[in-house]
Amino acid sequence: MADGSGGAQRLAMTGIAKRYGAVRAIRHADIEVAAGSVHALVGENGAGKSTLIKILSGAVTADSGAIAFDGEPVQITGTTDAIGLGIATVYQEPALFAELSVSENIFLGRELRNGPTIDWAAQHAKVVELLDLLGVPVRDATAPVGSLSIAEQQQVSIAKALAGEAKLLILDEPSAILTDSEIDVLFGVIRRLKEAGVAIIYISHRLDELFRIADEVTVMRDGATVGTFPMAGLSVREIAELMVGGILNEERPARTVPDAPPRLELRSLGLAGRFHDVDLAVRPGEIVGLYGLVGSGVAEIAHTVYGIEPATSGEIRVGGTAVRPTSPRHAQRLGIALLPADRKRQGMFAFQPISFNISIGHLGLLSRFAVWVDRARERRVATELIERLAVRTPSERQPIGALSGGNSQKVVLARQLVRRPDVLVLAEPTQGVDVGAKEEIHRIIDGLAAEGTAVLVVTSDLPEALRIADRLLVVRGGTTIAEFGRDASQVDVLAAAAGAGDEAVSA
């Protein structure tokens, strides 16, 4: 553990830049972290936080810039360099080995030995000591990690990071996967480490919690650090403003939504342990956005509407009738179509041609006497949709895996358009899609709404949520907490999602 002096400069990164091919992940980053302090690092997705962390932990090497550790200039060209300096990283998803025991996980790669064999007793004793430091009582160091809860696994990850005498601990969104009481335990651990003189870089999207734990905050935007500020005297809203910066709110095409009874309604919808009391209504021709940070429960809401995980409370109404979709097939029959978030895993048959990817799920419709597939008709529908959605491909026989992200997403979207659905739920419709295709997909969604589909867009992409939604609902802590109209600003929405209003209570 460190000297506990507190306040001495532990890390200074200056003029860091990194590009991946043509993409400039970091243009210019400066950050200084003091020993015995908690330093928050915030920024929107794609602002460059993860790249900066990867550089620091040795996963990638910076193109330019200097790093000083404890006042000495250092080179970090690999993970071993970082570990050697005492830089330990705990990633969001615990990178542990389910089949190995707690003590084995903690000492993996640096086992305590007794001759040629592992000194189990010594490892066990040290594990108990480490977990004591983290403020968690007597533990079973021989339990396989796979049998622990996510929160416990994270504690093991932190213990693992500390076993190597960490001087700088990087916590990458540690709270995203934890419940409130688990976060309290995590903060207790962080405070103890801080007292022991460890410098901590804490990444989080939940700005409200920073006021409870962080001393300073560095804000990143568009691949550059905006600046470092003491937490005292800031508000969630001010941090949100720094994150969003001077970005002008995009021009949004004015749309009028016909007045009609809601097509899709969620009433006090809940899924035990994930979200609760979600209320929303989407009218035909309306686009409603559901925006929330990772871990807010927003993704699970989409799954429930689509029948992947049936709700445990409340009800879903389609066209005024209460329904309870229990499978995607069921949801489809009820007239709910879904564009899944994880396109590669849930939405594509990569080796199959575009036409197959469009017609799958509609084969009854496209077949003769519901027996064999009418190939000519399949092809006709596919070509028509390819044209309508401007999918850039030489032919409908091209395998979808060969298309770019944006084009393959359009194909997956096309599948939902064979029959215009009454209700369309889109989860992260433009994730991993380039800017041009993004705009086209947004126009397609606009078009669908104009034809009368009730559209629910679930997204963690703030500009997208604002661009597309007629009304925008913000989800935090598993429930809808705020609603915005077309005139909402990025800062307002981000502040609501990140917990503005709560810092007054805790700070």
Binding site: T79, F97, L100, L108, V136, D140, G146, V156, F484, D502
Partner: protein, 349 residues
Amino acid sequence: MTPPSTQPSTQPSTPPSKPSRLGRARGPRVLAPLVSGQEIVLLAVIGGLWLVLGLATPAFLTAGSLRPLLIEVAPIALIGVGMTLVIVAAGIDVSVGSQMMVCGVITARLLVEAHVALPLAVLVSVLVGAALGAVNGVLIAWGRVHAIIITFGTLNLFQFVGRQIFGSQTVNGIPATLDVFGRGEAGQVAGLPYSFLLTALIAGAVWWYLRQTPGGRHFYAIGGDALAAELAGIRVRRRVLLTYVVTGALVGLSAVFTIAKGTTTLDQSIGAGQELAVIAAVIIGGTSIMGGRGSVLGTVLGALLVQTVSSGVTQLGWPSNLSDLFVGVFVIIAVGTDLLRQRARRAVR
């Protein structure tokens, strides 16, 4: 915008402490149990089968019947020891049968035509096997192609090489000196054949290595998540290469056992289908086909079970097809058990 949510103070502030696996106080147990549940089940099944077979055919539980069984088990169990390493590290090697063919024909021709001493021939066989394993290992670890593709390719490649070395159809006149590894009276201690004893010795050593040394435990980490293992400072490629080299070397020794238990004529069928028997033994022994979990003891027991079944089927005079059926059922049960176990584990989270 809605007003900020109500004060946290209105809610109960102490969360109910839920029972935790970590928090549970335990005795001073520092190691996983010596024998896993699946291994105990296997032991019981084998014991039960022996008992039943002993009652059904009185000849079964005699030395004259059990010794051949152990001689038959040895080559499969021995390769299985290496294959356990490979599969624990999330790999697979379907080329071991062809490797055995190459090792076998080289050894046979050295003994028959070059009249080299037996120990030297054994050494050459082991080294040739290790070299073939190294070909697999290098391609898999550095080529970043899935092991089943690579070893399926080398299966055919090695088979071609083996056939080339065979030249004519068979190698005749295998010398009797090889009997020490086979059925000969010279090749046994207290009724146990040397080949089985050697296999047990090697299996014991590897079992200890996998269990007690950092290097051994690292195979489990690699099988669990190779990338995370790399980040933990484990030299994943070298370790993966090692699993295939060890397997190859053991195939080399196993080839000697296989020639020794055969007739004085070696034909090109040596090693054919061996990969499936070995992989079946490993899986029945409780090693997860997904990697990250398994034990050498289980593999030896798995091999013993497979051989007991096929020997039992023969002795009962049943059609030999039935032993394939039984092995198939065992494999499905073992894989099913593994899947259920993993699913239960995920549910715990």
